[in-house]
Structure formats: C-alpha cells, structure tokens
Symmetry: D3
Subunit: 72 residues, 6 copies
C-alpha cells in the first residue's frame, strides 16, 4: 500500500550529518548537488533510527517556501 503526501516538495537524498540536541535534531541531507537541512525533534530522529548514510527524503510544504530574486 503506497501512501501519498500532499506536501509538494519531497527531495530524495542521503543523510550526511546528524546533530542531536536536547529537544531538536539537525539533519543535513545531500540532495543531488545540493545540501538541504531539516530541524526535527530529537525524539523523531531517534525513533526513525536516523543515522549518517540513510537514504531519506526531505519533505517541505510549498506554502513554507519563499522565493528570492536578484533585481537588476
């Protein structure tokens, strides 16, 4: 049974760094040529058994994304 998530951005990559804090955890993911960072709860990072080398996707809702443009 596959699931579908409404979040428009699901970027596949590999965990290259994981920093566990008291409440939060910083997850650094190599997504193709890009580095993308997520801050999730430590509890989720542990329950997911997250570790460097894991294949993951970074999920971002489109309404959470802004656009930056260089103006001439």
């Amino acid at each position: 049974m596959a699931i579908r998530i409404s979040g428009r951005n699901q970027l596949p990559g590999k965990v290259i760094e994981l920093v566990l804090g008291d409440i939060m955890a910083q997850v650094v993911v190599q997504v193709g040529e890009f580095v993308v960072e997520a801050v999730i709860t430590r509890r989720s990072a542990e329950q997911m058994g997250l570790k460097v080398g894991d294949e993951v996707s970074v999920l971002v809702k489109a309404t959470e994304a802004m656009v930056i443009k260089e103006m001439p």
Copy 2:
C-alpha cells in the same frame, strides 16, 4: 552590501511555471535535477516581476522541513 538570511535552505534554480491565483501564486522552480514548488502571495509575485525563465532561489527554513525514511 551583501545580505545574509538565516534560512538554511536557499536552493538556486529557474522558474519553469508560474500560476497566479486570486490571493496566492504557485511558483515551480527547476533546481538542478529537482522540481521545487513554492506558494507565495500573488502580490509578491507581481511586485517581484516574477516570470518563467527567472533565476531565483527557493528559501526554506530548516524548521519547516521534515524527514521521510523508508523503514525495512
């Protein structure tokens, strides 16, 4: 004078689609091999003169990103 934004994720790409709604606007950006979508206000899209072909960056705060992992 350069500026620095605290948002960890600033993904450079090119606008490949722009849909203007009444209040919101959907911006589809080719970021390397990935397609990333942002939903911003129509007003901002217009004031930025956004159009297909524009070089932009998609800005996402790390706290807005979740992680998905396939579990064995």
Copy 3:
C-alpha cells in the same frame, strides 16, 4: 516497505469537506470527535484524488503547533 515521517502529529480521520480554490484547497477532516482543517495546494488535492469520504491522516510538524492556556 513502510515509511516513517518525522512529523510528530499524524491524525487519522475522514474527509468530510473539500473546497477547491484556484491555487489552494481546503480539506476538512473528522478526526475522532474533532474537526481538523488543512489548506493544501489544489494540485495536490487533485493528484491525490482527494474526495469526501476518503480515509486520510493530517500531518502537522510539532514546531508548527502552539499552545493556548487559560490563565486564572
């Protein structure tokens, strides 16, 4: 292959109302005794074939949730 999403809140329920706008869509979900609303992109609602009666889960990152307390 199961997947695991870092978002702490995944509330199971049934779609009881779906309103499609130009860019966004309002999804109203009966979650046990509660009604929970999500605003997602219309495009996602359509690609997911969302309709009233669908069994779904509402996904909310814990950092997106605030707490309200009545003070004596």
Copy 4:
C-alpha cells in the same frame, strides 16, 4: 471579552508530558483519544507556567497541515 484566533485548529486537551530544553520545550497533549505534540520556546512554557495536568488547546494554522492518503 472573548478573543477569536484565525487559526482553524484549536484542539482541547491535557498536558501529559513537558520536556524543557535549553531553547525549546516539547509539550505532549492528550487530545481526546489522540496524542498531539507541540514544540514551543522554553521561555513561553515557563511564562505560561505550563505543567503536566494543565488543560490547554493546541493551535495549528490550517496552512501548516498536510494530508496523507493511502493509495490503492
């Protein structure tokens, strides 16, 4: 004088766990049959005098909620 908050989701429940970190605090709330988690600032948790057993509501803006659907 009552107040009205635009956030669509205000889920009433009872604090069942509170973890104070250096900057953030994890608040776990029993909302009917569901457990809902919020990550707020430690400062707010302290200023609200939050403690296990408190009656609270978890406030979530509809635009922050995603939808997950199992696809056949």
Copy 5:
C-alpha cells in the same frame, strides 16, 4: 478568564486592508509604524467578522521568523 498563547510574537494593530479570495484572505495590518501582512483562510476572516478598522493582533510563532543581516 484571560488566555495565554505560546506564540512569542503578538503585534497589536489595525486592519487597513482585507482582500477575500476563494480559499484564502490577505489581511494587512498597521502595527505602529510598520505594515504587517497575514494570509489566513477566508472562512476565518468571515467568521471573525474581520473588516478594515478592526483592532487586531498579528500572531507569529518565533520558529516561523527568520533573520536577515547586512554583511559588510
């Protein structure tokens, strides 16, 4: 009975513009010398009876705010 909301930013001001879309509504608020904009659901705007001239507060969770700094 007063209530306390964990969101760190509650900026008092007056509605100076309200644009109702199909799903969303754009609310422009004069907050002292600043103009602050919120995009909420149309349904909430209507249920709150929002109109130009209303005294309101704009609520923003601290985790949703980024910082921009000019670098020399």
Copy 6:
C-alpha cells in the same frame, strides 16, 4: 545587485538579546516600539556573526501569520 524576497514581512530592528542553544538560538529584536522574537538555528546565528546591537530584519512569510481579534 539588490535582492527581493517574497516574504511579505521584513521588520527592521536591532538585536537586543541572543541566546545560543545546542541546536537552536533565540534572537530578540527591538523593532520600533515592539519586541519581536525569532528562533533560528545556532549554526546560522554563528555563521551570520549575530550579536547584540546588530541591525537586522525579521522575515516572516504572510502565510505564517495568524490574526487575533477581541470579540465583543
């Protein structure tokens, strides 16, 4: 080369407090007569060389802002 960010709210002010946590950092900014708080990653605070007295802007996407109204 100027840049334009789609986020509707860019509030100029001065850093009056900075608290560095393990993963996150709390940034308190005097914005005219108001105090506005942002929680960003510690890594960004350090890379930006943030310190009390810095002139900054607080960036908030309009979709992240809610509205509170006192009802008669």
